[in-house]
């Protein structure tokens, strides 16, 4: 089976709104690769992610995870397969990094069960993977923006997911931290994790993704391999502004016309 996640003619309307956030959307997310969703604000990118882990159920149509409808899994089962890295996350309490990452083990624990030693080891390993283990006892409130984003990735990794959802992961990071995160995500993909992310940043997408989904007004305009779709025409149509794509040294850059 090629795709890990499949949207089949999905229409979705938020409760108590009249406007359809997603309209008849069909989409496949290929396994073992990075798929990036691009599109203007309000195109329905975040909504698509929300449907991908079952936070909301489609008004019409079906979401398939590993060949089964998402509704056929329990929440905990989904939590063991799909992990979310939200765009922003506020928490007023001064957890240590290890305590916070340990929360990612929740889908593996019974409601009254405490995390065991192997859960701690797993959380530690997730911290190691994003390179924050030397700060394991530091308070999460003492972290910089870049480190905090890596921490959220680590918590998601503690879920041992097959599919990692990231909502604009680099949107408020400086260049150095963007690079750090991109490299970390690359190493995850080579370890076999599938990534589905939204992004507003062409340089991040072209450095990381193999597949792109171009969205506008709740619909998929085009989707396919980055090599094919990364054209001035497709991107200009998506954002409704004239854009230009430059190739240089194997990198591709997007600029305004």
């Amino acid at each position: 089976m090629m795709s890990i996640l499949r949207f089949e003619d999905v229409t979705f309307r938020y409760p108590e709104t009249s406007h359809e956030a997603l309209q008849g959307l069909t989409l496949e997310v290929p396994r073992g690769a990075v798929t990036a969703i691009l599109g203007p604000n309000g195109a329905g990118k975040t909504t698509l992610l929300r449907l991908a882990y079952g936070r909301y159920v489609p008004t019409r149509g079906q979401v398939w995870l590993e060949g089964r409808p998402l509704g056929a899994y329990t929440r905990q089962e989904i939590g063991r397969m799909v992990a979310l890295v939200p765009q922003r996350e506020a928490n007023p309490f001064a957890y240590s990094l290890l305590e916070y990452v340990l929360l990612g083990r929740a889908p593996y624990l019974l409601p009254l069960q405490m995390p065991t030693a192997s859960d701690v080891a797993m959380a530690w390993e997730a911290l190691e993977r994003v390179g924050l283990h030397h700060l394991s006892r530091r308070s999460v409130q003492a972290l910089s923006g870049g480190e905090y984003q890596l921490l959220l990735v680590a918590r998601a990794l503690a879920q041992q997911p097959r599919l990692l959802l990231l909502d604009e992961p680099t949107s408020h990071l400086d260049l150095a931290n963007k690079k750090r995160l991109v490299e970390c995500l690359r190493s995850l993909v080579s370890a076999g994790v599938t990534i589905l992310m939204t992004s507003h940043e062409p340089e991040v997408v072209s450095a990381l993704a193999q597949h792109v989904v171009l969205m506008r007004e709740g619909r998929v305009l085009r989707s396919g391999p980055l090599d094919v779709l990364w054209t001035a025409e497709a991107l200009s149509e998506t954002y409704n502004v004239p854009l230009r794509v430059w190739a240089f040294n194997g990198h591709r850059y997007v600029t305004w016309e």
Partner: protein, 349 residues
């Protein structure tokens, strides 16, 4: 991915020795706090104003039958009530702070305290203040206050779930507070008003075994729920989306712990009246001591809360011949402690 293969439990010593050290320290800390509570309880049992201000001597206990009865029938239930109330208010405060993701929330939110106060005051003017009626009415209205806040929150058309619950809690509190004001205005100023006032100020002077035992099951049940769910509380403090993605039944689990918190709060109010600041100060202090992880913050808060209220009640009993209302003391010490805590640089986590 190969996160699983290399992480064996046996590796833990090599991988996270700091964590083990940290956990051992957390356990030691709990042991010390537990011992402190036991010592405070033991000392308090012999402390009072009979037959002299200060401690009962062993000789007096052996010889004086009145002293024996005093300890068994008055001081013991009163001390137990103080411990349970302290634990309840501190535990409930911690739960509310976590569920609302706001360290400045206390059990009075959600309208519970004011509703319980209204229930007690109503019972005093309607039925003349028979203890069990006041108590039952306080619990009934306290739970009713929560239910009202909850139902109202579902209808509020503004903000997320947490903000809506907070807003409706404020409104419900104000509603019942005005009700209390009205009852005070209507009450007989000679017979009923002093009783209502005493109750609103909070105190354990009248506590005997009977009211304590009546409230005990509710408190024990609620506290057991909180203790069992203590690690899970961390998940309930996360934002809805994140908690959901971790497989948590966010609404149902939050409702369960809120219900437990309200049960213990209402039961506490039904015995001791309004005792403020414990639920705000003690969880803050507990987090400073044990770190934010509720797995350790919950037991720490319970032990500290019990100790704090027992000490305050000791002062209330001993300082003057006419008792100082307990609620006044907890507010005074709580507010001072809170100011100290807030102006101090953060203790190491």
């Amino acid at each position: 991915m190969n996160l699983t293969s290399s992480a064996q439990p046996l590796d833990l010593m090599a991988r996270a020795p700091l964590w083990l050290q940290y956990r051992a320290r957390a356990h030691r800390r709990l042991l010390v706090l537990g011992a402190l509570l036991v010592v405070v309880l033991g000392v308090s049992l012999f402390l009072g104003r009979y037959p002299q201000v200060g401690f009962l001597t062993p000789a007096q206990i052996l010889e004086d039958p009145l002293a024996q009865r005093l300890i068994l029938n008055l001081r013991l239930p009163r001390l137990l009530a103080a411990v349970m109330i302290g634990m309840s208010l501190a535990g409930a405060g911690l739960v509310l702070q976590m569920v609302f993701s706001n360290p400045l929330v206390e059990p009075g939110f959600l309208g519970v305290s004011q509703a319980a106060a209204f229930g007690a005051a109503l019972s005093i003017i309607l039925f003349g203040g028979a203890a069990w009626r006041v108590q039952a009415s306080a619990v009934f209205f306290g739970l009713g206050g929560l239910a009202l806040s909850y139902l109202l929150a579902r209808r509020v058309r503004y903000g997320g779930w947490v903000l809506r619950l907070l807003l409706s809690g404020i409104a419900v509190s104000a509603l019942f507070a005005s009700g209390v004001g009205l009852i005070k205005y209507l009450a007989d100023p000679l017979r009923q008003l002093p009783e209502i006032t005493f109750w609103l100020l909070g105190g354990l002077a009248g506590v005997t075994w009977k009211p304590l035992l009546a409230a005990l099951p509710l408190m024990v049940l609620g506290l057991v729920i909180l203790i069992l769910m203590r690690w899970r509380l961390n998940l309930l403090a996360l934002e809805d989306e994140v908690a959901f993605s971790l497989g948590v039944a966010v609404h149902r689990e939050r409702l369960l712990v809120l219900l437990a918190a309200v049960m213990v709060t209402a039961a506490s109010i039904s015995i001791g009246g309004l005792i403020g600041w414990v639920g705000l100060l003690v969880p803050q202090l507990a987090r400073r001591l044990s770190g934010a992880d509720a797995r350790y913050a919950v037991p720490t808060a319970l032990l500290l809360g019990g100790t704090f209220v027992v000490l305050c009640d000791d002062l209330a009993r001993v300082l003057s011949a006419g008792e100082i209302p307990l609620g006044v003391l907890t507010s005074l010490l709580g507010a001072v402690g809170f100011l100290l805590l807030m102006t101090r640089p953060a203790v190491k986590v």
